[in-house]
């Protein structure tokens, strides 16, 4: 059965095997990671695209003709909802016992 000492020995062996192929320190210090540069380019392009899209949206909004409507002629688009059937009944006063004009008796 392996003991903690065996584990330590196995790790030591792993370390020895891996450390035989360590890249030189100078190379790590001097070479700029390509991923980083690519990342910067990606961000720059994304920012440029955003600026162009924003500018075109702004321009489109500015170019749109402004339609002004006087407050007295303005009608709410939902006005029709208030026009219920027989709305006329609500506007007149009902009378009782008065014969209608044009009828005898």
């Amino acid at each position: 059965m392996p003991s903690p000492d065996d584990l330590r020995d196995a790790f030591r062996e792993l370390r020895a095997a891996e450390q035989r192929h360590v890249p030189p320190f100078r190379r790590s210090m001097e070479r700029r990671p390509s991923g980083r540069r690519r990342l910067r380019y990606t961000f720059a392009i994304a920012a440029l695209l955003l600026v162009v899209a924003g500018a075109s949206l702004l321009q489109r909004r500015l170019m749109r003709p402004v339609v002004t409507t006087s407050i007295s002629s303005w009608k709410a688009p939902t006005d029709f909802l208030l026009q219920t059937p027989n709305a006329k009944l609500m506007k007149t006063v009902p009378t009782f016992g008065v014969p209608k004009r044009g009828t005898s008796s």
Binding site: M1, P2, S3, P4, D6, L7, R8, D9, A10, F11, E13, L14, R15, A17, E18, Q19, R20, H21, V22, P23, F25, S28, M29, R31, R32, P33, G35, R36, L39
Partner: protein, 167 residues
Amino acid sequence: MERAELESTLETLHPASFGWALSCCRRDRQEADEVLQMSYLKIIEGKARFDGRSSFKTWLFAVIRRTALERFRWQRVRRIVFLETSPPARPDQILESSERTERLLRALDAISRRQREVVELVFYHDMTIEEAAQSLGISIGSARVHYERSKRRLLAILQEEERIAFA
């Protein structure tokens, strides 16, 4: 710290740093190389500053680990945004690896990331549990629990592998 002094310290710790970078990158040599370069740049450009609250090695290992995590997160986002497929794993090929080393690597793959980190810092890098906790930014109690669990689990896996090998 002066730049020359900083470079000299980094150079002294370079082999150990590479070993730790390999561990943070799941033994992918190319990734480890990139992560190490990015970490060194952060330090040289002053984006990561050593404040003397721990040993330089402990702090350097924390920088390497954070850089590796940032890189993995960024790669994950990039894969989602650009609909890239996940790259195939490129584990380190140790030509002269023994059967025991291979068994250990397989066992390390079977435990959680945190457990692997603690046990590697202690056994591979000869750190104390306190130093490992500082490097990982976790409490000593938590590091101790991870250490005990990972040791037990690794020993159990290795024992099982040995049993199968000799059966």
